[in-house]
């Protein structure tokens, strides 16, 4: 059974003059323990899709199913990392990390212990007691990532988790995420702008078109697990990359015409 299933999601936003259609008939699913990525042009509606999955937005039409039960509009069922870090400025870093756990009802002590254990692993040892404003952009993103990671939900929705990281830190975080995921096989839905990242991490990739967004292609990544970074040099990897890129190129060029 699939962990998450989106059925014919449509979404439009009313604006001053006309209504903008953002998502048009999106159907996708994430199986149990699967790592699925979404790639799409900027502004195509990926974050909007996450808001729908998280229950923040009621889709104009369509349905969200979690473990087979319809949960459209229900909140608090997934672990979520927003595109902007959204750290609480009055909470110290460790208190920010445990926020999702606190909300989920996990004992504060327990959560804090976990936060203190994990913070050094994302390169933030020593910053536990600092307030968010002293952190650099990339550091804030890592805090936000850790917050989602430690949230006790089975489906993780990550919205560009590594966008603000340098290439190396990024690779490290990727490898590390992969490692964790391979150990406990949570289901992951992952938005990224990097085709390599998607190919390297995912079991499947959905490529979205430009607004109004449809699923252009669903692509099964044919590499085995556990994966090594070396696969990036694989010819098949490069071919797939070119393939996706070609798809997107059409989309973005099309977009320029507007």
């Amino acid at each position: 059974m699939s962990k998450l299933e989106l059925k014919n999601i449509h979404q439009s936003f009313p604006s001053k003059k006309q209504t903008t259609m953002v998502l048009s008939d999106i159907s996708l699913k994430v199986n149990d323990g699967e790592f699925v990525s979404i790639i799409g042009p900027s502004g195509s509606g990926k974050s909007t899709l996450f808001h729908i999955i998280g229950g923040l937005l009621m889709p104009t039409s369509g349905e969200v199913l979690l473990d087979g039960t319809p949960v459209t509009g229900q909140k608090g069922l997934i672990s979520y990392m927003p595109q902007q870090p959204a750290l609480f400025p009055w909470r110290s870093i460790e208190e920010n990390v445990i926020l999702a756990q606190e909300v989920a009802g996990i004992a504060r002590d327990h959560a804090l212990a976990a936060a203190r254990e994990w913070l050094p692993r994302v390169g933030l040892g020593g910053y536990e007691k600092e307030l968010p404003h002293v952190l650099s952009g990339g550091m804030q993103q890592r805090v936000s990532f850790l917050r989602a990671l430690l949230s006790p939900k089975e489906l993780m929705c990550l919205d560009e988790p590594f966008g603000a990281l340098d290439a190396l830190t990024r690779q490290e975080m990727q490898a590390w995420l992969l490692n964790i995921w391979e150990q406990n096989k949570r289901s992951i839905l992952f938005v990224t702008h990097s085709i390599e990242e998607a190919l390297y991490l995912s079991d499947r990739i959905y490529v979205l078109s430009n607004k109004p967004s449809t699923v252009l292609e669903e692509l099964v990544v044919p590499f085995g697990r556990p994966r090594q970074e070396a696969i990036m040099k694989d010819v098949l990897f490069q071919e797939l990359r070119q393939h996706i890129q070609g798809h997107l190129r059409k989309e973005v060029q099309h977009d320029q015409g507007r």
């Binding site: 808001h51 998280g54 229950g55 923040l56 909140k75 608090g76 069922l77 997934i78 979520y80 927003p82 902007q84 959204a86 609480f88 400025p89 009055w90 926020l99 999702a100 606190e102 909300v103 989920a104 307030l131 404003h133 949230s151």
Partner: protein, 255 residues
């Protein structure tokens, strides 16, 4: 260095106060203002020291009811704001009552309070609370409304309950607004106490003032006013200090 900063921050108010007092003294001396109308600062200070023990006693009485009234009032204000914010429909519904509470003049409300609660300290506390709760409630309510949209959405996505959203997000986010209200209330609380003392009872600066006024002792009347102003200032600064101490995350300027 720390001491220097204190001196740096301390001198503008001191300079201004001294300037005002000087101007006042000069205006009275040169302007030939009758001292029964507006006594000079010197006269006031002299009189104040002469009548010190009694003034001090009345001051203590006023401080007492002021503090109780302020704490009750602003505590209530915060609770009220929270309730109005949390319970849907309450806010719209109770606005008229909030406004009503500020628009029944003391001369009409006083007798009612006395009939209901007697001549003791209770009606006074009620009156002060009534003065103090309003700015706190209004400012805090506005604070709740200003909650950061991104953080709010994030909390929603987490599935946070209304209670969790309130305590973990809205309340801390509204703290600057709350303090804005508290500072206004603190300023009003002393005057509130003085007015409350006009309701009756035999002590407090309000009582002292009205008595002195009725015997044309403008100098003593102004002693009371000076004490009132000093009290308010002190109280205001206390609240401002508390604010600085509590709201530390909003380090604005890295200059």
């Amino acid at each position: 260095m720390k001491q220097q900063r204190w001196i740096r921050a301390g001198w503008p108010p001191i300079v201004v106060v001294i300037l005002v007092l000087l101007l006042w003294q000069l205006a009275v001396t040169w302007g030939n203002t009758a001292s029964w109308l507006l006594p000079s600062p010197l006269k006031i200070v002299t009189e104040g020291t002469t009548d010190m023990p009694r003034v001090w006693m009345h001051t203590l009485a006023t401080i007492k009811i002021m503090l109780i009234g302020f704490v009750v009032g602003s505590g209530l204000g915060l609770v009220l704001a929270s309730v109005l914010h949390i319970v849907p429909g309450f806010k719209a519904g109770f606005y008229p009552l909030l406004i009503l509470s500020q628009n029944v003049p003391t001369i009409a409300l006083g007798p009612l309070l006395i009939i209901l609660f007697g001549f003791g300290v209770l009606p006074k506390i009620i009156l002060i609370s009534l003065v103090c709760f309003f700015p706190v409630t209004m400012a805090t309510l506005d604070g709740f409304m200003q909650t950061d949209r991104m953080m709010y959405n994030y909390m929603l996505m987490l599935g946070a309950s209304k209670r969790q959203i309130f305590f973990k997000l809205e309340l801390p986010h509204a703290l600057p607004f709350l303090f804005s209200g508290l500072k206004i209330s603190a300023t009003y609380s002393v005057m509130g106490a003085v007015i409350a003392e006009w309701l009756g009872g035999g002590q407090g600066l309000g009582y002292y003032m009205i008595l002195q006024k009725s015997s044309f002792r403008a100098d003593r009347e102004f002693v009371a006013i000076l004490v009132i102003v000093a009290l308010s200032l002190l109280f205001f600064w206390l609240i401002a200090l508390l604010e600085k101490w509590i709201i530390r995350w909003n380090v604005k300027r890295s200059s």
